[in-house]
Symmetry: C2
Subunit: 379 residues, 2 copies
Amino acid sequence: VSGATRPSEGIDRVAIVGAGLVGGSIALAADAAGLAEVRLFDADPAVRERAAELGLGSAVHEDLAGAVAGVELVLVATPPHTVADVIAEVARLVGPGTFLTDAASLKSDLTLEVESRLRDAAADPSRFVGGHPMAGSERSGPDAADASLFQGATWILTPRASTADGTLQAVSGFLRRLGARVLVLGPDRHDELVALVSHLPQLVASTLAEVAGSAVETTGDAVLAVAGGGFRDTTRIAASDPDLWLGILRGNRPAVLEALDRYRRRLDEVADALATEDWSRLETVLARASAARRRLVPKADQGSAVDLVVALDDRPGTLGAATSALGEAGINIEDLAMRHATDATRGALLLRVRRDAATRALAAARDQGFTAHVEEVDP
Amino acid sequence: VSGATRPSEGIDRVAIVGAGLVGGSIALAADAAGLAEVRLFDADPAVRERAAELGLGSAVHEDLAGAVAGVELVLVATPPHTVADVIAEVARLVGPGTFLTDAASLKSDLTLEVESRLRDAAADPSRFVGGHPMAGSERSGPDAADASLFQGATWILTPRASTADGTLQAVSGFLRRLGARVLVLGPDRHDELVALVSHLPQLVASTLAEVAGSAVETTGDAVLAVAGGGFRDTTRIAASDPDLWLGILRGNRPAVLEALDRYRRRLDEVADALATEDWSRLETVLARASAARRRLVPKADQGSAVDLVVALDDRPGTLGAATSALGEAGINIEDLAMRHATDATRGALLLRVRRDAATRALAAARDQGFTAHVEEVDP
């Protein structure tokens, strides 16, 4: 989308429908970006009241019609199942020149439904483009609003054939003013990708945790003693809220099924290689996986980095002292993690540093009285 | 193993064969525990020389016979494929009263082989017990030796029917003096458990990274923008060394195959539930997984904790300042992680704190000029 920032200069009055974490954060960020008018509306009177108390946006409106009247862009940040209704209602309230977008996490069915609802309402679907901010995790409510939530975050826009170029450019420009990086994807492609890198990992991790958990019934607590950092990392997201994920999986069922089938076929090949002792095939999978992980997650786990492992107890303050020691030595910490001891009373801090800074990092930690050593990443 | 600590008081002279990370760390820890004699031997002259320079143990011996003569316990910490040979050789050199143990990561075939080799050498297999320290990651060589490596770590001992109670008690007592927590498991059970919580997660993570990686070929860099913390965590160990893992998988093939088959059957059920829209069955799996993860990893990701998310840049020192701010406010950081922005130039620090300390943590961070907000764990 070349020259995309120019038309956005024109967007100076926006309305945000939904004053939760996302809507509230957009209001704060738009305010900070210097927009002339940032109006907020929420169907819940208690949320409106709280948003007003927090001073989110330039005004919190008591009715939708008042909020959207005369604005150049309406951004709908309500729960996904309400988005199509809200956009259809907004379309009846605004003039034909108003841009419309949303922030729901699935795009394929929703953008199709919005397009159809806009046509039904005799509104112009070319003014709508679907959106999905990849902005971390969701604490709900206006109190969670944060002006920096989208700073450096990717905001995916999913135009359909009916979307006008000017709509994409205007909404992109606005999002960039919030600090976001805009990525344009087709709605189907968007849903395929989140199925692959978000929904599939959830099923993979949940199934792994469930299988290990059912082993506890036969093996007792020994599993806990044997489970190390690899198990912890691989199953971390399995602790997520089941209801939340059920909703997501329902909403993206075809794409998740396809990703899951692709994964299962590959896992069948891995099992077959192991069963038939085809070690060269298994090595190929492991090597391709290792290369893929390093390519997909560019910064962490690079071969040029090592972990400084600092023994810690659970007292407050030691963590700050350890990381400060490195900072004062001019050593940048590229990643970090906590390694808990099995009994959860004693742990170690893993500070990832560049390999060429490892010796200085070790000396800096030991100078401060810490027991520390250096480990290779991901052995 | 009741009364296990008493007999160990008698072990005062040990020999460690293999002066790498594990052997060197045992030597340092045994020295620190006040043993009268801690002898070290390594087949590699360069390793011996370096171990001597580093002052590991009370003496580094030039020959195996000299190292093991007259000691009460010989601990073999050489590469797994050499362990049976080394123990057979040691058995010919020591008297019948000397205890023998090892530190290899697989136990089923190895302990059987050691037992058979000891019988062949007309030595007493009742004096041997297999061992496996669950002590973090393996950097190799004597320079990586660390006196605190086993402090609080689980050290699994895997007696066979032929192992004498006195052997188990003596070796347990010695390991406890190194700071380790001893867990006794049958050799087969040990290999089944590591297959389930270490080797299976590796295959699961590698296959996931490989599937996502092959998608890059068709979708380009968009995958990188969409991949979030869940994908990063779930695939982290996929970046491991393929050769290392190939060796582990070869060595534990039957147990890994069984764990993998159990996992695949469960994943088939998940796919079937999704395909047939059997949402209650899918919810059951997700809920069981969530409960299992919380039970298996007791400390991290508890519902009583939240993440304080602090925006950071890559300058050295900001990390220390942020964690110090919490320490000074008396707030304990229970876990932590780095969230990298997609473009890897800007990131956020996730500090896990108890829910009841979240407000104070937020205030402490903001007082120090940080942009911060609080997020739910694992949304």
